[in-house]
């Protein structure tokens, strides 16, 4: 079967620009072994370890009150940060693509900046601002507002690390599309908001969905930034990845992998949807082939 596939493709490609069958097989085997050891097996481990003690143990682990509370917190944080970055992404792409101003390329670099910062540093900067010893710490304490070791801090740190996802999908696409469609709509008497809603948004809907998908996966899975600001209070400020860490460090391996398997499932669904979007709407997603 494998050899058939190799031979049939050898017939369709240019003979002088291909390798011999032996070379092909060796290269494919090396590449797939590497892929198996570093990418595929870790995923298998997650699911097999999660069901180590059977379905009963799995269900017990994910319906534990602390796990449920972690799931709830993760969903809230993801909803907040994805919506915040969605609004920002659309506004930034709109401003960058449809208007001319100085320093535009610098702004694009700044939008990508959070990808270059270690997640731990993303958490640290908020501790320096809002922590007990931070710049606004005393004021916040005086007014009874908790940011660090509470939901707002977790959301802020997550917004920071997922900041570029939506914007970077939309910016190249909207730049490529130009503002011809919008000018036509405006000249026909549509208002600015109507133009945005009925002309701009439909043009970028798949890229938008693509960005939201990646943003959501990262928001639900963020660990380093959230670990710094959360305080890891069980049942209160633990997100799912933090719950995985705590369970694992307590040698509750099956429970840790059970919660982890939910996150792995999210990753697989994200990948499946992402691949689907690339196949169906590749032309309408500017950055489909690059990160």
């Amino acid at each position: 079967m494998a050899v058939d596939a190799l031979q049939s493709s050898a017939a369709t490609t240019h003979a002088v620009t291909g390798e011999t069958i032996a070379v092909r097989v060796v290269l494919i085997v090396i590449a797939l072994t590497f892929f198996g050891l570093f990418v595929f097996l870790p995923l298998v481990v997650v699911f097999l370890e999660a069901f180590q003690t059977g379905l009963q143990g799995f269900i017990g682990a994910i319906t534990d009150p602390d796990a449920l509370s972690a799931i709830r917190l993760t969903l809230i944080v993801a909803a907040v940060s994805v919506s915040a970055n969605l609004v920002f992404g659309v506004a930034a792409a709109w401003a960058i693509a449809k208007f001319e101003f100085r320093g535009k390329s610098f702004l694009v670099t700044l939008v990508d900046l959070p990808f270059s910062v270690s997640p731990v540093i993303a958490g640290l900067v908020y501790v320096l601002l809002f922590g007990a010893q931070g710049y606004f710490g005393p004021w916040l304490k005086g007014h009874g507002i908790a940011i660090i070791f509470a939901l707002p801090g977790i959301a802020l740190a997550t917004i920071f690390v997922t900041f570029p996802f939506v914007a970077r999908e939309l910016i190249p696409l909207m730049q490529e599309q130009g503002s011809g469609d919008e000018e036509a709509a405006l000249s026909l008497g549509a208002s600015g908001f109507k133009t945005f809603l009925f002309v701009t948004l439909p043009n970028v809907k798949w890229a938008l969905l693509y960005g939201v998908l990646l943003c959501n996966a990262r928001a639900m899975g963020e660990f380093g930034a959230v670990a710094v600001v959360s305080g890891k209070i069980r049942g209160q400020t633990n997100t799912m990845p933090l719950q995985v860490e705590i369970l694992y460090n307590e040698y509750a391996f099956t429970a840790a992998f059970a919660v982890a398997s939910l996150l792995a499932l999210l990753a697989l669904v994200t990948l499946a949807l992402k691949t689907l979007l690339e196949w169906r709407f590749g032309d309408e997603i500017a950055a489909a082939n690059g990160h």
């Binding site: 620009t17 494919i28 590449a31 097996l41 702004l107 700044l110 540093i121 995985v244 860490e245």
Partner: protein, 264 residues
Amino acid sequence: MALGFTLTYLSLIVLIPLGALIVHSSSIGSAEFLRLALDPRTVSALSISFGSAVIAALINAVFGLLLAWVLVRYRFPGRRLVDAMIDLPFALPTAVAGIALSTLYAPQEWLGPYLELVGLKVAFTPLGIVVALVFIGLPFVVRTVQPVLTDLDRELEEAAATLGAGRLQTTLRVILPPLVPALLTGFALALARAIGEYGSVIFIAGNIPFVSEIAPLLIVIRLEEFNYAGATVIATVMLAISFTMLLIINVIQAWSRRRFGYGG
């Protein structure tokens, strides 16, 4: 209005917080800053982070190129599945990757016993850090090389073959050169990500000071000790390294656009 909102949001979420880090570190004073930055444990953590990131990025450059090549040029069962799953390290939360890798490579578990037969200890050693960073960085190389390889003109290879070049010669002198900028970009992206990586590493590393303790972990430890100055100094040095990396990536891409007509 959209621009005003963009700038305000960018400032509030990214620029002011990062600025706070710089302000905080400059308030430490240069003598004290140097003393903290040259603290042996800090220097060791930074060099472990940087060193393992370089090794992992090199491994990814080699195997990432190979994977991109195999995925673009050959047809085999499961190719599309592998292609889709290359992005798994982007999608899988780092903590999940961390516990999975450390279980996979732990002494009594899955691969551990086999690796021990050949004298390799991976989990809870510096080698474990490299394994985690290879996992994290792989998609960067594959996804930067792949599109360039797909767009590569097959006629150039035919021309080389008609002119009498062997396949190996063609590969080394016709196919590889235009891939170099993409490969360098992928390497730099993987390196940049690996230097700051935390979640996937801490479970498998063993976290022994001076042996397998990475810089982001030392920041967390300093914070837990309420040693804000110590944490800030490490973070500032790491930020400087990140910005240098970002600059290098931009230079590679600008060079590649001039030389090869694509952005890397």
